[in-house]
Every structure is written in C-alpha cells, then in structure tokens.
C-alpha cells in the first residue's frame, strides 16, 4: 500500500522484483545501487547465504526527487527465487505497489520462468492482489547469452497483459533503469486514480 504522509509531504512506494532463482533480481538492485548518487539512496541490505543466494530479501530505499511537492521514495525489494523459499516470498509481497518480473532468457530456464510467474500470480492472489490489475513490468534478462531464446518467443510465452517489456543485461546495466522507470511510472500513475 502506498504510504502518503501529508504532514511530511512524502510518498513511499514498495516495488518487488520477482522471478526464478539466479535470474538476476539482486543484480538489478546492485546495478541501481552502484549507479545512483549517494544522497539519493540508502544502504543496500542483502539477506543472503554464504554463496550469495538471497535468503530472505534484498532491500534498497531510493529517493527519486519531488513530484508535485511530494518527496517520492521507492522501496525496492527482491524475493528469494529458489522454489523452496515460497513462504518468504509471500511475506515480501505484503503491501506491494508494483511488481517487476525478471525472466531468465536462457533456453533451459523457460520452464522455471513459467513456474515462477504462476507462483507470483498465486501468491499475489493470496494477498488480495490481481496480477492483471497491479502495476507490472516484465524484464527479459541475460539477452547477451548465446543460449538466449528469441525475444518474440519469450514475449509470447511470458507477457500476460501487454505490460511494458524490456530486454536487459543486468550485469552491465542494459535495460535496468528502463525497467525501474517503467514500473515507477505505472505506480505513480496508479496514484492518480485513487
């Protein structure tokens, strides 16, 4: 739920990066963290295992500046992608305002993408959200790999409602900010309707 503090003139929005294990959710956040100027960001918190697999969540608070005199603050979260962390994923979706789905372009991960997308839809429903309604953006990551499935095929398989879709290589930042910008835009546009 967007938290608007009229007294302090602040808007806080929660954006969750979802997707199968090792698709690059944390890498997206890491890139945003590295490329944002220090005044605009808080600490990047990563609750990960010793082998850098996300255990609970990554968290990055981001100040984007002012809209209509209100300070906009985005809280970016990632979920742990591995299938057996489902209970944790549900918790992180609580109070979400916008979702980014990161898909892994490698041929071998197509099944994992589909499974994770289904999982997202189910978990959102449990929290009372509808994937078809909530601000939502799709990112096809790892476009640089030789085993990447053609973008049109992926679009056909994974795009569910004509949502903004971006090709990305999160390791070198390609498409990372475009994705963030698109979801931020959708979330703020949603505020208009309220």
């Amino acid at each position: 739920m967007t938290f608007i503090n009229y007294a302090a003139r602040e808007i806080n929005c929660k954006i969750v990066y979802y997707g199968p294990g090792l698709c690059g959710k944390t890498t997206n956040l890491q890139w945003i963290y590295d490329k944002t100027n220090p005044q605009a960001k808080g600490k990047l918190i990563s609750l990960a295992t010793e082998t850098d697999r996300t255990l609970f969540f990554d968290f990055l608070p981001l100040d984007l500046g002012q809209v209509r005199g209100f300070k906009t603050r985005f809280h970016l979260y990632t979920v742990p992608g591995q299938v057996f962390y489902d209970a944790s994923r549900k918790l992180i979706l609580k109070g979400v305002d916008g979702v980014v789905f990161i898909a892994d372009s490698q041929d071998a991960r197509m099944e994992a993408n589909a499974e994770s997308l289904q999982n997202l839809e189910k978990n959102l429903k449990e929290q009372g959200y509808d994937l078809k309604v909530i601000p939502y953006v799709l990112q096809m990551n790892k476009r640089d790999l030789p085993t990447a499935v053609p973008a049109e095929d992926m679009y056909r398989q994974l795009n569910i409602k004509g949502e903004p879709t971006f090709e990305a290589v999160a390791m070198n930042g390609t498409g990372v900010f475009d994705t963030l910008k698109a979801v931020a835009k959708l979330v703020l546009t949603e505020l208009k309707k309220k």
Binding site: F59, G65, H75
Partner: protein, 159 residues
C-alpha cells in the same frame, strides 16, 4: 495520518523513551514504513531498521501460524551492549524499543505495556476518524496526484 493523532503518538513515544530509560523508541507499520520515532537517531539507518523490523515480524508471524498460534506479540533480541524489544500494537503497528544496560527487560516490558494501551486508543480513534472522513474528504479536495503528468514522472529520472 492526522496532525492531532500524530502529536499524541509522538508524545506517547517520548514518554515511553524517558520512562523506560531506552535509547530509541520507534514505531513502524507492518509494511516496513516508519511512522514516528523518538530518541537519538544519529548514525542509525532508520529506513533499514524499519524494513528489517517488518521483515522480522512478518517471518515470526509466519512461524506462529505454522505452529497454530495467532501471533507472537513480543520479540526480544539480546546483544552484548544493546537490546531490541519488538511488540505488536493493536495487531497493526510495530513498536520497537532499543535499550542498553541502563535499563532492563523488565522495565521495558512494563512501560511498553502501558504505552501500547495508549497507542491502541490513539489508533482506534484514528481509524474512526479516517472512516468518517473518507467520504467527505474525497469530495472536498482532489488528491494532489490527480494531475500528475508524464513529464512530472520523466523529470524524476532526468539525471
């Protein structure tokens, strides 16, 4: 959030901080948004504290459900110097007290109990007010975001 209740909440937190001899008293909603705080916050990353607290409570909540409990209303983390006492107020907000050996768990628990009752009343009042106002407010003035334009949003990313 209304000005009047916000002041009441801040007063309650301030009293709790003094009465319990705590370093910091902090109020967060269940989604990890900071509501109010009192105490020496210098050198403390408040945003991260809020988000991790909410994550912690959410995880503990999940554990409670697993074993058939409704909730664990109190969490306590003991450190070498500083300790954190976390409790749920009115099942909707999280009250965090950070204290060191100038206070004690017993004292904190006692004072938190009293403050929780006060906070509960304030939030009840707040809820009633919000519901009563919901209709009226919507008619009286438009949301400041009704006129957000694409340019407004683009300018956020202009750097």
């Amino acid at each position: 959030m209304y000005e009047e209740e916000y002041v009441q909440i801040k007063d309650t937190l301030q009293r709790l901080q003094v009465d319990s001899n705590a370093k910091i008293v902090f109020l967060v909603d269940k989604n990890g948004q900071q509501i109010a705080a009192h105490g020496d916050m210098r050198g403390l990353d408040a945003t991260s504290l809020a988000s991790l607290t909410a994550g912690n409570v959410a995880a503990t909540d999940g554990l409670a459900k697993l074993i058939g409990e409704k909730e664990f209303s109190i969490l306590f983390h003991e450190g070498e110097k500083d300790n954190i006492h976390i409790s749920l107020v009115a099942q909707r907000v999280i009250l965090v007290v950070i204290f060191d050996d100038r206070s004690s768990l017993g004292l904190v628990r006692l004072r938190v109990k009293k403050a929780s009752q006060e906070l509960e009343k304030i939030f009840e009042q707040l809820l009633k007010k919000a519901e009563a106002d919901r209709g009226a407010l919507a008619n009286r003035f438009d949301s400041p975001f009704a006129e957000i334009t694409d340019e407004d949003i683009d300018s956020l990313f202009s750097e």
